[in-house]
């Protein structure tokens, strides 16, 4: 894997920021940068083949539809799914909401949809480390249906504590991240799937931080649903995927309704198309789907195993480098076992926001705050962390720049003389 050659595909990586400092982009967990190949594919589609898909009988409409459906097929193959098991959504968040709202719509639908009905006392299980996208929609589903939300707690090492709760026959849905966007922890998918199956619960996997970074095969993982977003995997924003097992999507009622997803429409009522169209209301995002197809091609050409190896090397370097800086505490696993490319940490005596500011001044772009995982931060007793996240284009030199900048932050805030045991809570 030639990282220098890869970086040349990403025009933005040659930018400077804050007074001519080279950009050190370590925020791919928030959004990834896009290679020229993806940008070109979107542009080419709009310049040569653009029309509204699944409508119109003219040549341009055929070309647009072919491009859209071909992208769907390549994306499906990338994650070990069949094309009709891939629903295009705006992003992963919308995908989770789709399943949640389909569940609460099920009662009014009847028929095959009955399998999704939730009743008071039923349970939805998540984990304490979930991104808000895989937590809040379930909270709201519980509010709508009277179901109860329960969760696996997280250990001090950042692992899911499989002994913290037991699933019951009332457990209907178990939703969990493949990889934590904060801790980098890779969850024990096989074990969680087995437990869910044992009680007849459906599983939903938040694959936002795994699909872009390692080989993922939803069929092999045996999950019922999965979500991921295009913009985290070198693809455009505004496009994401909900994967659903065929027989589940066939039984599921729609969430967003309108044009495109119908079978027959009368004033008195309508019937709905087969999946995946049933869940794709309105004119779809087209150049974005084509762009995501190009991103999948780009990633496939490099190879997901190679990308995974590359990122693990960077994580190892980051963990080792930060371990040498006094007062820096990693929040999450400190080893490489079942751990991916997000490294979150706190610096004693300096609020994450202030660390991020010094890093920013040095050209190092990280994320600071709770990273849409506020309960997880409360669990670790911290208001905010600094998170560096890597991708295919990240380099060892960039990791070194991160570590240097963290040292600089300690110097600036005057904690480097070792008196930095001052907490960040002031007042009482």
């Amino acid at each position: 894997m030639d990282v220098t050659k890869i970086r040349a595909d990403f025009p933005i990586l040659s930018r400077t920021v804050r007074d001519g400092k080279p950009l050190v982009y370590l925020d791919s967990g928030a959004t990834s940068q896009r290679p020229r190949q993806v940008l070109d594919a979107e542009r080419a589609f709009l310049e040569q083949h653009n029309a509204a898909v699944h409508r119109g009988a003219h040549q341009l409409a055929e070309e647009a539809t072919d491009a859209y459906e071909a992208a769907r097929a390549r994306i499906a193959a990338f994650v070990g799914a069949a094309p009709d098991e891939v629903v295009f959504t705006k992003n992963a968040t919308e995908g989770v909401n789709l399943v949640a709202y389909a569940s609460s719509n099920a009662a009014a639908f009847g028929g095959a949809a009955d399998r999704f009905v939730l009743e008071p006392g039923d349970e939805i299980v998540v984990t304490e480390l979930e991104h808000h996208a895989n937590l809040v929609p379930w909270q709201e589903l519980c509010r709508r249906t009277g179901a109860t939300l329960r969760w696996y707690s997280v250990t001090d090492e950042g692992r899911v504590d499989l002994d913290s709760i037991e699933l019951t026959e009332r457990t209907k849905i178990v939703a969990f991240a493949h990889q934590s966007n904060v801790l980098g922890t890779v969850l024990p998918v096989a074990e969680l799937v087995a437990r869910a199956k044992a009680v007849g619960a459906l599983t939903l996997l938040d694959a936002c931080q795994s699909v872009p970074h390692m080989p993922v095969h939803f069929g092999d993982l045996d999950v019922d649903f999965a979500v991921f977003s295009g913009h985290k995997m070198l693809g455009p924003s505004g496009v994401g995927v909900l994967y659903g097992r065929r027989e589940l999507l066939e039984a599921m009622p729609p969430f967003l309704t309108g044009g495109s997803m119908i079978e027959m429409v009368r004033m008195e009522g309508s019937t709905y198309a087969a999946p995946p169209q049933r869940f794709e209301a309105g004119v779809p995002m087209t150049s974005q789907a084509v762009g995501l197809g190009a991103a999948v091609d780009y990633l496939t050409e490099i190879g997901m195993d190679a990308i995974h190896e590359h990122e693990l090397e960077l994580v190892e370097r980051a963990l080792a480098g930060l371990a040498e800086v006094p007062g820096v505490r990693i929040v999450g696993p400190r080893d490489l076992v079942d751990r991916g490319g997000a490294v979150a940490f706190v610096v004693d005596g300096i609020h994450a926001h202030d660390v991020g500011q010094v890093l920013d001044d040095q050209g190092v772009a990280v994320r600071v705050g709770h990273h849409c995982a506020w309960p997880l931060h409360r669990r670790f007793g911290v208001a905010a962390t600094v998170r560096a996240s890597f991708h295919v284009y990240s380099t060892p030199e960039e990791v070194d720049a991160l570590v240097d900048a963290v040292r600089a932050a300690r110097d600036f805030f005057g904690v480097s003389s070792g008196d930095g045991s001052r907490g960040t809570r002031r007042g009482g």
């Binding site: 609020h351 926001h353 500011q357 931060h377 208001a383 905010a384 005057g414 960040t424 809570r425 007042g427």
Partner: protein
């Protein structure tokens, strides 16, 4: 952005701590980063007699709360709101607003924050809590 004044207030915040009695209390959070503040106001007639607070947050939010107490304690409610408006105008002015040191005192040190939109909410957190506390104390009266 990190003027020495700001770092001073961060290291040695003025009037820190939650005190009683008080007339109203406000709790504010910045959802983006998790900064939070609990702020109490005690009034004597029309005057701001005391502002006490406890913050969990970055240097900007903590220093700003400290400076706030220096600027409003002892003033009338009306005058303190004038200071608040001036501070808010500076903080939200994208670096285009020339702050008045006579009105804002140490607060002018936060002029640099205006050029970092992501930190403006940090600088305003304590002030919004103060404003909210004043409103609550009025509702009680």
């Amino acid at each position: 952005m990190y003027q020495e004044i700001i770092l001073d207030h961060y290291r040695t915040p003025h009037n820190a701590g939650l005190r009683e009695p008080f007339d109203a209390e406000s709790f504010q959070i910045n959802p983006t980063c998790g900064d939070e503040i609990t702020l109490r106001v005690r009034l004597e007639g029309d005057k701001v007699a005391d502002v006490s607070y406890e913050t969990l947050g970055c240097s900007i939010s903590q220093a700003s709360a400290s400076v706030l107490t220096d600027l409003v304690v002892g003033k009338s409610v009306a005058d303190s709101l004038t200071v608040l408006r001036a501070f808010q105008e500076m903080a939200q002015g994208r670096g285009q607003v020339e702050p008045d040191e006579d009105v804002l005192g140490d607060g002018v040190a936060f002029a640099g924050v205006a050029r970092y939109p992501a930190r403006v909410k940090c600088a305003l957190l304590g002030w919004m809590a103060f404003k909210d506390a004043l409103v609550r104390s009025e509702e009680k009266a």
